[in-house]
């Protein structure tokens, strides 16, 4: 992630602040920054969302394709994640510099959505063994301003929520193969069920036994070790991962998990509320990048 050079004094200032329960930008330890979200801004994709969290800016698009399923899962659709770290986001992403981060992000997302409890892929099946829907989720990192994992996971969920897939009718059978056709009405669409789609909550250990969430890049310089927790809307932890070199004390870790669980439920709730609100605006004009 974007490296920022901080002097020892600056770091001490941030850490001491957290110890006192107050952060440089005025937030408390477990406060999120303001989140801006817009869906449906890429008209050619099936679903898209752009999320800004502080300076972090990510664009997520979802494209649907029809493909034959892998033989061992003939009745399941698939979801694939691709992350690209734009060199605009940070100079060190230039060339293949962003690859490591991109791989760890996409691996994290793969893991997050791998369970049928988070996304029911059997509903993406069209003709078992022949045609299933495959969702390609492309994540473009436009700007890095800390807390990338959380932002991306929120964006993915929003983009999936905004995804519209044309309705498919099975028209009959021919030579033992089911035939299907696409509804000619572009308004007639199916959506992805995101009611169980998890998000990520990251805790940064900033000192001994204190953690903060939604760290700024400066804060990320102070504490090298983070724990990323995947939480479903019902508060179920789906995955955890530790990032960076360092250790968590057991009680810190369990406290982080617990707070991630609680926070996750709240953020899920708020996110869905906002998304529904956005959808209810009639003839909404997309804002996009202009």
């Amino acid at each position: 992630m974007a490296d920022i050079s901080l002097s020892e004094a600056e770091k001490r200032y941030i850490v001491d602040g957290v110890k006192l329960g107050i952060r440089v930008d005025g937030r408390e330890r477990l406060d999120y920054r303001q989140l801006e979200i817009e869906t449906g801004l890429v008209s050619t994709a099936n679903g898209s969302a752009r999320v800004r969290l502080g300076c972090t800016d990510v664009l997520i698009t979802v494209k649907m394709e029809m493909e034959p399923p892998p033989p061992q899962q003939p009745k399941d659709g698939q979801i694939h994640f691709f992350v690209n770290c734009s060199a605009n986001a940070a100079p060190e992403f230039e060339g293949r510099g962003g690859e490591d981060l991109a791989t760890s992000l996409s691996a994290m997302l793969d893991r997050l959505y791998s369970s049928p409890l988070s996304l029911d892929t059997s509903r993406l099946c069209v003709v078992p063994g022949k045609h299933v829907k495959v969702l390609y989720v492309d994540v473009e990192i436009l700007e890095c301003g800390g807390n990338l994992f959380d932002t991306v996971s929120l964006g993915v969920k929003a983009a999936l929520w905004a995804t519209r897939m044309p309705r498919i009718y099975i028209t009959g059978e021919d030579g033992g193969e089911l035939e299907f056709m696409v509804s000619d009405n572009p308004q007639e669409v199916d959506r992805v069920d995101v009611s169980n789609a998890p998000i990520l909550i990251t805790h940064l250990r900033i000192t001994e036994n204190l953690t903060v969430i939604d760290p700024t890049p400066e804060e990320e310089c102070c504490g090298p070790v983070q724990v990323v927790v995947g939480v479903t809307p019902k508060g179920l932890i789906t995955t955890t991962q530790q990032l960076g070199a360092g250790t968590f004390a057991p009680q810190t870790l369990s406290a982080s998990l617990k707070s991630a669980q609680e926070l996750g439920v709240k953020i899920h709730h708020q996110l869905m509320q906002r998304l529904q609100q956005e959808e209810s605006i009639p003839n909404r004009k997309t804002k996009g990048f202009l």
Binding site: S43, T44, A45, N46, K63, M64, E65, M66, E67, H131, P166, I168, T171, G172, E173, D174, G175, G176, E177, E179, F180, M181, V182, S183, D184, N185, P186, Q187, E188
Partner: protein, 980 residues
């Protein structure tokens, strides 16, 4: 003024592969789309199309008014719109788009109307008008949305023209829509209401299409034309229980809507009629067939239905698919023959597709910018294929190759894609290539690896060779072949022995010496299996160096040969034979004509000529023996084309002459083949490569017998001998071609002769029916047939001149090989014939020719005739359509009403039982002599078709006058008229 807003049009599209693509198109709305009305003060239209209409004729709308139409009116009442009285019409862009989508021919007519300035048809670009654009609502069908768009456009016009007091009415065919329009306080009528209110147009109402008050077709309920194919599991299950049968589908040559499936366990093939029952199966596919109940069995149709002709007739009215199919079915039903009922079935599934790439041409599409085109395969048994191309102009007059991708249920024709261009239509190279590709003949250049297997030049005979081979260079050997033959693979000699017998030798090019087993050269030759002879090109089985040089037994050079030498008594009894590898030196390469001259010329008394005379003498006796044994003498209609190599034009067509020397060479070749067959079979009872000719089943003779019966001739087909005798006994004095014709027809009843491996069949099946020999093989043409090379190798092993190799003695491998050779052989034959057809047509191009023709077969709507002069079979259609066309082309005739009355369209009466076609007093039977006039219609490169017309016997109203006497004949008719 200008752009107002950007909209995004989103729709989803399924690709060929089944993927789904979201398509987003930008759509800009403007506020400067003019109304096109002259009296409007607000619009800045430069040349308004619409003007103040005259006083209205209509009682419904007494004021002058503009008319706006909706899609259904354009689609169904285009004839009304064409009437001169209908002017000042506004056509919303929505309507134009929908019409284009639904029916291209009507779209074309509509465009023509729009371009006719007198009609004052104005296209209102409502889709881009900021006030008229409507977006499709969630629950709305595409049709409803378009109807709404039209209503909104109409509403806009009303508001817009209110200032200048101009009225606009909407015509629709749909009552529901009319009422919706009226609810918007607009005036709307159905076409019928409006037209019937017009005062001075009584005739116009007749043109109003009836019953077309809109059905409100829903585009979502997609029409699937064909029944679904069963799954493989289901087919397998039903095959087991015997409810469906499996077999290879063969489309009828004469009728593309009919096919036969050869099913095991039934003596008759299963008949399949109609597009729906054939259910997307193509010729040669292996299909599962369900038999229909016996009361639905049919007789094979006795009409010739040509796809291209069919399609052309329907060109004007591109009907809905169902209608077209119904029409085809009617046609079939009308053509129902009177023969026996045949088991009839329908295809329920396809077990194995035999799709390949097809050669053909593109059908011209009326809408030039259209992407979709119909492809017409060269093979008449293959249905038209729908392809998409962005370069139609490039492809129109080209022969192209197309591959089939799929044939979905909702598509009348299979869908495919363009592969590559072969060349321009009519080009010699391209036409040859088409033939070779269509018949799967390998015709690429020989590869480097193959050429590396050839002996290095200069080639010399080494001492080792001389030691291994019999030196026969002292013998007077010569070859007798057709003129211009460069691949000479046989030579003969004959000398009198001291004991009064003759020593006769047949020397065959020793190709197996040069083509060693399992080399690249061998594999290539094996793959090609045979040399293919087209009229203007020869595709060699082995490279030129071998076929025309080292293996060719040319005169006065030393060549390797594989010889068979008999001792023959003066009564032509074979006393002994021996095979050996030899070195020979031919004394001369003679043509049949030269050899004949030598024999006939009493002054020639040299050794060579005398040996030819002896050979000839022996050959006659051999032939007599063979015919006594029951060999058939059959005939074909082969002709020889003399083609000018520079201009590619046919200079002359000559029937193949028959000379004694031909049968002389033939007899000894047969003898050599029989000897080789006996010899190999004796030594290798399990793996000799033989050639058999099965006796045809009696049913094969039925058409022949029926035709013969119509001429009061009874043929005995019980055995080959009986058949040969009855063929010899029949002649007709008034018809010199009669006997040949009968033999040609007999040939068509025969089965294919086949190569096989002796181990795979019972000895009783080895029989050769046509030649009346118990065993037969091919030994004498190894340059142009691969089977002969195998026979050579076997014989070489027998005489211990060569080693064997595993594949040679493996009956399974040999059986596979013979299958392959049979296939290639058959295809090469077809290719040769196809090439002759094309050359014959090319020779007819650009002139009107008259020929003697003989009736081969009668059908309900056509007569098939043989034309010996060009060696072709032509079809003479008996329908009246040709007649009509003619009248159109000769307007002077058509203008005279008397003429038309005098010659009513002739009625042809077809009697299938006794097989004749009757028209007035004229009766046409098989074998009858006709005079026909043949032209090749070259007006359209795409449709070069042979058109044949009858000259004699004269059938009023159908036959045409002969060319030269045309003027005198016309005088006659006029004088007759005067008398009346």
């Amino acid at each position: 003024m200008g752009l107002v807003e950007r909209k995004l049009k989103v729709f989803y599209r399924k690709t060929k592969k089944g993927n789904i693509i979201k398509v987003v198109r930008e759509h800009y709305l403007r506020d400067d789309v003019w109304c096109g009305y002259e009296g409007c003060g607000q619009c800045e239209c430069e040349k308004p199309t619409l003007d103040m209409p005259d006083i209205s004729d209509s009682t419904l709308v007494p004021e002058s008014h503009l008319i706006m139409i909706d899609t259904n009116v354009a689609l169904h009442q285009i004839d009304v719109l064409c009437d001169d009285s209908i002017t000042n019409v506004i056509i919303p862009q929505t309507v134009v788009g929908e019409v284009r989508h639904r029916s291209l021919p009507i779209y074309k007519r509509l465009r023509d109307l729009i371009e006719t300035s007198a009609k004052k048809f104005y296209v209102f670009t409502n889709e881009h008008h900021s006030e008229c654009y409507v977006e499709r609502e969630a629950e709305e069908s595409a049709n409803d949305r378009n109807d709404r768009a039209i209503r909104v456009a109409c509403w806009w016009y009303k508001q817009h023209l209110r200032l200048c007091n101009q009225k606009v009415i909407l015509l629709t065919n749909d009552y529901a829509n009319r009422d919706k329009v009226r609810a918007m306080e607009l005036e709307a009528y159905t076409t019928r209401e409006y037209v019937s209110s017009l005062k001075n147009r009584p005739g116009l109402l007749d043109i109003v299409a009836s019953g077309e008050e809109d059905k409100g077709e829903d585009t979502i309920t997609q029409r699937c034309l064909y029944a679904p194919h069963w799954s493989m599991d289901k087919i397998r299950q039903f095959l087991k229980t015997g409810k469906v049968r499996q077999g290879c589908l063969k489309t009828s040559r004469n009728n593309f809507l009919e096919a036969n499936v050869l099913v095991e366990g039934l003596d008759k093939s299963v008949l399949i009629q109609g597009r729906l029952n054939i259910n997307r199966a193509l010729n040669d596919d292996t299909v599962a067939v369900e038999l229909l109940p016996e009361d639905q069995w049919c007789r094979p149709a006795n009409v010739i239905i040509d796809q291209e002709k069919q399609e052309e007739e329907n060109k004007d009215k591109e009907e809905a698919d169902e209608e077209a199919i119904k029409k085809e079915d009617d046609l079939l039903a009308a053509g129902q023959g009177e023969g026996e009922l045949q088991p009839t079935g329908r295809v329920v599934g396809i077990i194995r597709r035999k799709w390949r790439q097809y050669c053909g041409i593109i059908k011209k599409n009326e809408i030039t910018e259209s992407l979709r085109h119909l492809f017409i395969p060269a093979d008449k048994k293959i249905p038209f294929i729908r392809i998409e191309t962005r370069q139609p102009d490039l492809l129109y007059d080209k022969r192209i190759i197309v591959a089939i991708d799929s044939w979905p249920r909702d598509s009348r024709n299979p869908k495919g894609h363009f592969v590559r261009i072969i060349g321009p239509v009519g080009d010699k190279e391209a036409e040859n290539e088409v033939i070779l590709l269509e018949h799967d003949c390998p015709h690429t250049k020989f590869s480097e690896a193959v050429l590396n297997c050839l002996p290095k030049m200069p080639w010399i005979i080494t001492e080792k060779d001389e030691a291994e081979r019999n030196d026969l260079r002292h013998l007077d050997i010569c070859s007798v072949d057709p003129i211009g033959c460069t691949d000479i693979d046989d030579a003969l000699h004959c000398r009198k022995l001291a004991n009064g017998n003759f020593e006769v030798g047949v020397h065959i090019a020793d190709v197996s010496h040069f083509i060693r087993p399992n080399t690249a050269l061998d594999k290539e030759a094996q793959n090609r299996s045979t040399t293919v002879y087209l009229t203007t090109r020869r595709i060699d089985m082995v490279p030129d160096l071998l076929s025309s040089n080292l293996c060719s037994l040319r005169g006065n050079v030393d060549r390797f040969a594989f010889s068979v030498i008999w001792e023959v008594s003066p009564k032509a009894e074979v006393l002994s034979f021996k095979f050996c590898k030899s070195i020979i030196r031919s004394r001369g390469e003679m043509s049949y004509e030269q050899a004949q001259q030598r024999i006939d010329d009493p002054n020639m008394q040299d050794d060579l000529t005398n040996s030819l005379r002896n050979l000839n003498m022996l050959a006659k006796q051999l032939k007599k023996k063979r015919i006594d044994a029951g060999a058939l003498v059959l005939a074909s209609m082969e002709v020889k084309f003399h083609v000018d190599p520079d201009t590619d034009t046919v200079v002359d067509i000559v029937a193949k002459q028959h000379l004694e020397t031909m049968s002389m060479v033939e007899e000894f070749m047969l003898l050599a083949n029989v000897t080789a067959a006996e010899c190999t079979l004796k030594h290798f009872p399990d793996c000799a490569l033989l050639r058999r000719h099965p006796a045809p089943p009696h049913s094969n003779f039925e058409p022949l017998l029926l035709s013969a019966k119509s001429q009061d001739i009874e043929l005995d087909v019980s055995s080959n001998k009986a058949l040969a005798e009855s063929l010899n006994s029949v002649t007709r004095d008034n018809n010199p071609f009669f006997n040949s014709m009968l033999r040609i027809m007999t040939t068509r009843c025969m089965m294919q002769a086949l190569y096989f491996c002796s181990g795979t069949l019972e000895p009783a099946e080895y029989n050769h029916y046509g030649l009346a020999t118990p065993t037969y093989t091919h030994f004498t043409s190894p340059i142009r047939r691969y089977a002969d090379i195998i026979v050579h190798r076997l014989l070489a092993v027998i005489i211990e001149a060569d080693r064997t190799y595993p594949d040679l003695l493996n009956p399974k491998k040999l059986a596979d090989l013979s299958q392959h050779i049979n296939y290639r052989h058959k295809m090469a034959q077809y290719a040769g014939r196809g090439s002759a057809v094309i050359t014959a047509i090319a020779s007819l191009r650009g002139k009107t020719s008259e020929f003697d023709a003989y009736v081969l077969m009668l059908h309900k709507n056509a007569i098939q005739v043989l034309v010996p002069t060009i060696g072709q079979q032509l079809t003479l259609y008996l329908d009246k359509r040709e007649k009509k066309k003619e009248e159109k082309t000769k307007p002077t005739k058509g203008a005279e009403p008397m003429e038309v009355d005098e010659t009513p369209a002739p009625q042809f009466e077809f009697n299938e039982k006794e097989l004749f076609v009757k028209c007035g007093s004229v009766i046409i039977r098989p074998f009858d002599h006709l005079k026909i006039q043949v032209t090749v219609d070259t007006s359209d490169v795409q449709h070069q078709r042979v058109v044949s017309k009858l000259i004699e016997p004269v059938i009023p109203g159908f036959s045409v006058p002969p060319l030269k006497r045309e003027s005198s004949e016309s005088k006659e008719t006029t004088s007759k008229k005067r008398k009346k």
